[in-house]
Symmetry: C2
Subunit: 409 residues, 2 copies
Amino acid sequence: MLSYKEALDVILDNTKTLGKEKVFLNQALDRVLAEDIVADRDNPPADNSGMDGFAVRYEDIVGASEENPVILTIEGESKAGGTPPKLQKGQAIPIYTGALIPEGADTVIQKELTKVENGKVYILKELKKGTNIRLQGEDYKKGDILIKSGKKIRPPEIGILASVNKPTVYVYQKPKVGIITTGDEILDIAEPITKQSQIRTSNTYSLYAQVLQTGAQPVIIGFAKDNPESIKENLEYAKNCDVLLTTGGVSVGEYDLVKDFVKEVLDVKIHFWKVSIKPGKPLVFGTWGKENEKLFFGIPGNPVASMVVFEIFVKPALKKMMGYQKLHNPTIDAILTEDFSRKSADRTEFIRLNVEYSDGQFYAKPFGKQASNILTGMVNANGLGIVDIDIYKIEKGSKIKVVMFDMDI
Amino acid sequence: MLSYKEALDVILDNTKTLGKEKVFLNQALDRVLAEDIVADRDNPPADNSGMDGFAVRYEDIVGASEENPVILTIEGESKAGGTPPKLQKGQAIPIYTGALIPEGADTVIQKELTKVENGKVYILKELKKGTNIRLQGEDYKKGDILIKSGKKIRPPEIGILASVNKPTVYVYQKPKVGIITTGDEILDIAEPITKQSQIRTSNTYSLYAQVLQTGAQPVIIGFAKDNPESIKENLEYAKNCDVLLTTGGVSVGEYDLVKDFVKEVLDVKIHFWKVSIKPGKPLVFGTWGKENEKLFFGIPGNPVASMVVFEIFVKPALKKMMGYQKLHNPTIDAILTEDFSRKSADRTEFIRLNVEYSDGQFYAKPFGKQASNILTGMVNANGLGIVDIDIYKIEKGSKIKVVMFDMDI
């Protein structure tokens, strides 16, 4: 059976980044740039004032002080977006933040260091030549690469894209991720319950939300019953997806038909079935499509295994398809606040933890019930602690590596 | 002038949580629950099998071992979603994970501990009574509160909402956040540049993206020129917003008209103008509307100040409106990797940092250029280091508190 790391390598080695597409800026947040962003002008585009005050010639204000102010004639104005007059000897031009430095001026005296009386300005302090002037191109020069292809687009990048006149931008495409829920016992929301043994789905919608959160496009294909016709019909509808997720139907039971029919209907090449992890052991991974560019994940049906398998295996693959450089959830070291022990240590176990950050340190609290079917334990959890193979016990106060699925700490 | 903390208190004290609304489950991710979520059934709804194998009576298999297997007659089947027959003495019913425990059975022997020959099953090991049975209500009982009102909805919560039959759910409303960009010099994307002094907006769209990222609803009202008519016209269109953000026009310049006209047009009550922070000092905050339930932020025009002010003041207010319990960005302690010093220490300064996590520790690297107009520095940053008033220098290797605006570490 593959180890966690081996399985991850197989998945990522078989995952290809999708092509690019143009999107409008309002759709670009959290997408990944598929082009370098180049400055279309110098920034600032011209020398301008960093303060409200007066543009002056340095040589006119040498020696100015509160006791011996220099008195200058007020002339014209330089306001943002305007074109100021030329500054002559003995004059001062009122200027506002961001406004052009008038020709002839070389220094700006902020308002607080001046006094205006009878149409004259009193300069109360000598400042160094060039003070309060933001130089043309000081931030960047025309032609500079401001953001490299491959960067995740966040609000600062959106601001820069606007400022260099890019209402549309190339990003990597999102995969279309089909979700098929299997099992005779599984009902969709609002379907009437007719037998005590029926279960309402949680996986369909937790997977939907996980796909959405990853930035990919979820498609709920349907609910397949445990018979060949129903499974085949649903698989037919998955053909136009980039990634297929099935939930349930991958164990050793006679009704676990998914593995067989994905081969038959979609010509899926199975790379592995079963990984040495807990929960999530019966995971199936395959590739399909013309160039094996499409992915298949047969995800175990129990709700916690489903969430864990998505976070540690499916999400990194989807992120690679979307061009992300960081594929994995943040992994931090936390101090375990209670003992953890287990009876068998033949698999890498992912335990639900509630991680808090205080006094410069992460603390992780495990939950009593770690059974893989207890979804409610996920509500209080924000991370998955990794317990390596052969580790039977982690003592209170020891460090544990935690894959965080919610960094709102 | 108010301190950072005082300003934050004024803002949050004047911010009210909005009412609730019903949304479909596919829109509920990252919203905040405005109702308790109660279990509609026990979970599991009935005793069921945790393994594929055979349902048996414990008393029939006492003493079973590889050397002395117990031989039972195979009878019927219990599959997920089905209704099994009653188990009689001397019989074993094949059972699959999740399937109902047949009446009369009290133990499940996993397939691996059995052998089937000639229609009989050989039980190769005695297991404890009750082994591999998941008990009805073991996860939760009908009527239990599974998620409390006020919880942020993440994928696990979406899964639980589906499983308790909630296709729609009450969440707190999102504020509609109007954005007005001011300044004669500011052009929208794609507008032709006719003067060297004109600047293409970045703030309009970085604020748009920040509002979107916070989960609120951005509305780009327009671009106001520095004259009363243009400003008033734009403000008129802000009347149906819950929050108004203006960018620019809040300094001491004669063309900084926003403060005056928000009073005139929207009857904004100004709570403060200017905060002892850098960048972002000229921030204006006010409330308006029938019950002063609407917020106004006059955000300074320089791009970095705009981003900083949003992260530290506007975002927590929007989150409070949306019912979030955690209002602030995560704040971590990082080790500064280079000296930081400044000449004046009369304000709380927020310095752009690139924070990395390695070997259980956050490391923060400052950038050379900290001028508030240098937006490109934000591209490599993911956090804002807090330099308190009266602190002139933080040495390399010392700790610094960092407000993270991107936790993808």
